[in-house]
């Protein structure tokens, strides 16, 4: 046992320093020089002040803004300091009740819109911080936002298109609309 102790302790200390201190420091150092914005949280500035991260969604309830995915974080939605999904099972009555109440809220904000609600707009995301909605979910809300801002529907659709990305390299993931950027663009158009 004693012959094992010295190699065990010294190798453990050595590899800990290498993988637990040197390696993260090296990655941080290179990242700070080569891509400081990406490694620093992809912040979005307005008037010189950070108003959010391009990767983290925000909560919107005002009719003049596009709304993002429902968020299950606590105690408030889109709490970036406590990411979480709902973890509701498919048969859980609480899931059906939550989706129903979200549909009712969407309908109440836009009574003339009788189209079915796209699924991503009424189900909670995995992180609770999803920055995107599907193009269908954006289109569903276009009329409401146009009315609230006294804009033409075409102007709003134009902004949606400008803030939509397709699949990465054409094959990975899904097409998506960036909610925060879209809302910033709307604010820039009609403050």
């Amino acid at each position: 046992m004693r012959t094992l102790l010295r190699p065990a302790v010294s190798l453990f200390v050595l590899l800990s320093l290498l993988t637990g201190i040197l390696y993260p420091l090296l990655v941080t150092g290179v990242a700070r020089i080569a891509f400081p914005a990406a490694a620093g949280g992809s912040l979005i500035n307005r008037d010189g002040k950070p108003i959010g991260s391009a990767l983290i969604g925000q909560n919107f309830t005002d009719a003049k803004y596009f709304w993002g995915r429902p968020s299950a974080t606590a105690p408030m939605p889109y709490n970036a300091a406590a990411s979480s999904g709902s973890n509701l099972g498919p048969l859980n009555p609480a899931l059906v009740a939550a989706v129903r109440s979200r549909v009712e809220t969407l309908r109440a904000a836009d009574p003339d819109n009788r189209r079915p609600v796209p699924i991503d707009l009424v189900t909670a995301s995995a992180s609770g911080l999803d920055p995107h909605i599907s193009p269908a979910a954006a289109d569903y809300q276009a009329q409401r936002v146009a009315r609230a801002r006294h804009l033409g529907i075409q102007a709003v659709r134009q902004l949606i298109a400008e803030n939509t990305e397709g699949r990465d390299l054409g094959v990975f993931g899904e097409a998506r609309v960036h909610v925060l950027r879209l809302n910033l663009a709307l604010d820039a158009l009609t403050p």
Partner: protein
């Protein structure tokens, strides 16, 4: 499956096939380096002298096992101590409090055993120092342990009439420094360039576009939540004008979390968190990095036993099982949730489940959609990674059964780094044994007679985890403390418990995360499952390596069962499925199967 899903799966398998052989050959080369005076051996020599390691001192299996256990015990102590002392240690800008003893011990065992079960919320519990020097280090060292043990078993087959199976210190060092570290460095830099955080800044508070109105639990003068009716907390309206963005050295940890099939995220939401997995392209490479080393190890095995066909045979069995399960998961998740399609507000159907991102979107991210999430879930549980980019608890019953069953098969469909290979080799030994019984010959594998001792070790290694899972689940559902953690009603609640035990005992680490597992009961139960699930397999495997290395090699004759080619692939898949199904079908019937029937029958 839609065309996007087919394309994604096809592309994934193609890229995997292209990269595993070069890496496998590199691994084989690194693990058999001799004392030639290369620059590398000069550096190694200096390290080994300082550490008191004699490079050529072969270890018998018992010494090898003791070395591995001792090395892991040191890791356990270090991770536990760092968590318990983090408040007084540096690199803690959020002033995180010391972690409670039960949770700290659970996490320490979890990271040492390559499980990386997260009973804690990363962003609100762990200081940057613990994430780096505690958790990241064990991401490396538990992965190195798995690979070292696998290589030792391979040496058992490759050698004959030998007393040793290698030197554990040399193996652990070489795996960490020449395999895991260079790959992690490259991958971490790529991740950081794509938006994964890598800094030591304090959390950043930003003023959001719209203030968030929400209910806050009202507290009494003692700081306890007030209740009006029993059980109903009183909420008072509150407004949050800001959002707190977490920061930290994330990319360096996420890289090895994927490459080492560890899976413990920096954040609670793991690879669903946009700061851990910002784009679908990153997601694809994270999926690839999970299978990279387990796949390459099959080829390293083939090279080391001098017959690459043997390696491709294991790879083919794993790949076929994987593709079948991946297709199942994608299909079930794309079917969506019929209960939501039935919701009526007014006259017409109110929820479209056939929009662009059709299917079951609860607990999934928009950028990944259904296919990239279901594929990730299959990969992360086929390998014993356990990172998640979607909440498995909200999967459809059969979509969620895919990850569950993959763990229960013993994590051999690529499996953990090292543990997948030694697990599959144990199944291969069982397969030749069963075939030997059928054709009436002494079973042989790779020129080694499989005898009573090997079969005893095989049975121990194969039966340890099902016993832990089934007995553990039974204890949990029969006790008040176990049932208290269940979040979802009905059969799904049982699935949550079964999933937790399957994940812990097979060292996966993913969860049906609704289960409240950060309690004394689950911290204790899962710690036992993780610990025995890891070392009650490693020790028989090393014992088998020792006895195999000592054996003579028998000559190949016309009566030898070939252990390469389609016939053996089929036999191997058959044995893996047979053992898995015999162990788990009753439990699966009570959980996902019952839930599936309930979901689709009652209207």
């Amino acid at each position: 499956m839609n065309s996007h899903a087919w394309l994604l799966l096809g592309l994934y398998m193609t890229v995997l096939l292209l990269v595993v052989r070069p890496l496998g050959l590199h691994i084989a080369r690194v693990m058999t380096m001799d004392d030639q005076a290369t620059p590398v051996s000069g550096f190694e020599g200096a390290v080994f002298r300082v550490c008191g390691i004699r490079r050529n001192a072969e270890m018998g299996w018992l010494n090898y096992a003791l070395a591995v256990l001792l090395f892991n015990a040191l890791g356990l102590v270090a991770v536990y101590a760092l968590q318990r002392l983090q408040f007084w240690l540096p690199l803690n800008p959020q002033e995180m409090a010391n972690v409670s003893p039960g949770s700290a011990f659970n996490t320490a065992v979890s990271f040492v055993t390559n499980t990386n079960w997260q009973g804690y919320d990363g962003e609100s519990t762990m200081s940057y120092l613990v994430q780096m020097l505690g958790l990241t280090v064990q991401n490396f060292l538990s992965a190195a342990t798995g690979i070292a043990v696998a290589i030792a078993l391979v040496r058992g087959f490759a050698r004959h009439s030998a007393s040793g199976i290698g030197n554990a210190w040399v193996d652990l060092f070489r795996v960490t420094v020449w395999i895991l570290l260079p790959l992690s460095l490259l991958f971490a830099l790529f991740l950081a360039s794509q938006g994964v955080l890598q800094n030591f800044a304090a959390y950043q508070e930003v003023t959001t576009l719209e203030a968030t109105r929400h209910g806050n639990a009202k507290l009494d003068t003692d700081g306890r939540p007030l209740e009006d009716d029993p059980g109903h907390a009183v909420a008072e309206p509150a407004t949050a004008p800001t959002q707190t963005l977490p920061m930290g050295p994330v990319a360096s940890q996420v890289a090895i979390k994927m490459l080492g099939t560890n899976g413990g995220g920096f954040f609670n939401a793991n690879s669903a968190h946009p700061f851990e997995n910002p784009t679908p392209l990153v997601n694809f490479l994270q999926m690839l990095s999970i299978f990279l080393i387990p796949g390459a190890l099959c080829l390293a095995f083939g090279r080391l036993v001098g017959d690459e066909r043997q390696g491709w045979t294991l790879f083919a069995a794993m790949a076929l099982l994987f593709v079948a399960f991946a297709m199942a998961a994608i299909v079930f998740e794309q079917q969506g949730n019929p209960r939501l399609a039935q919701i009526r507000v007014g006259e017409t159907a109110s929820v479209s489940t056939t929009a662009l991102t059709d299917g079951n979107m609860e607990g999934k991210e928009t950028r990944f959609g259904i296919a990239d999430s279901a594929l990730f879930a299959t990969i992360t549980t086929a390998a014993s990674c356990g990172a998640v980019n979607a909440m498995h608890d909200s999967f459809t019953p059969l979509g969620g059964a895919v990850p569950l069953v993959l763990m229960q098969l013993g994590e051999v469909v690529f499996g953990g780094v090292g543990s997948g290979l030694y697990g599959m080799l144990v199944f291969a030994v069982l397969a030749v044994f069963i075939a030997g019984l059928m054709i009436g010959r002494t079973p042989e594998y790779l020129g080694k007679k499989i005898e009573a001792h090997e079969m005893k070790m095989t049975c121990l290694a194969i039966l340890a985890t099902p016993l832990l899972v089934l007995i553990g689940t039974a204890i949990a559902v029969m006790t008040e403390a176990g049932r208290a953690g269940i979040a979802n009603p009905g059969a799904h609640g049982f699935s949550e418990v079964l999933y937790a035990l399957s994940s812990a005992a097979n060292n996966n680490g993913s969860a049906f995360a609704g289960l409240s597992a950060n309690t004394p009961f689950y911290n204790g139960l899962l710690t036992v499952a993780m610990c025995f699930g890891r070392f009650a397999v490693i020790i028989p495997v090393l014992a088998m390596a020792g006895s195999l290395a000592a054996k003579q090699r028998v000559a190949v004759t016309a009566g030898t069962l070939p252990t390469h080619g389609p016939l053996f692939v089929a036999l191997l898949i058959g044995v893996v499925l047979l053992v898995g199904l015999l162990n788990y079908v009753p439990a699966l019937a009570l959980g996902p199967l019952a839930e599936h029937l309930a979901l689709w029958s009652a209207r």
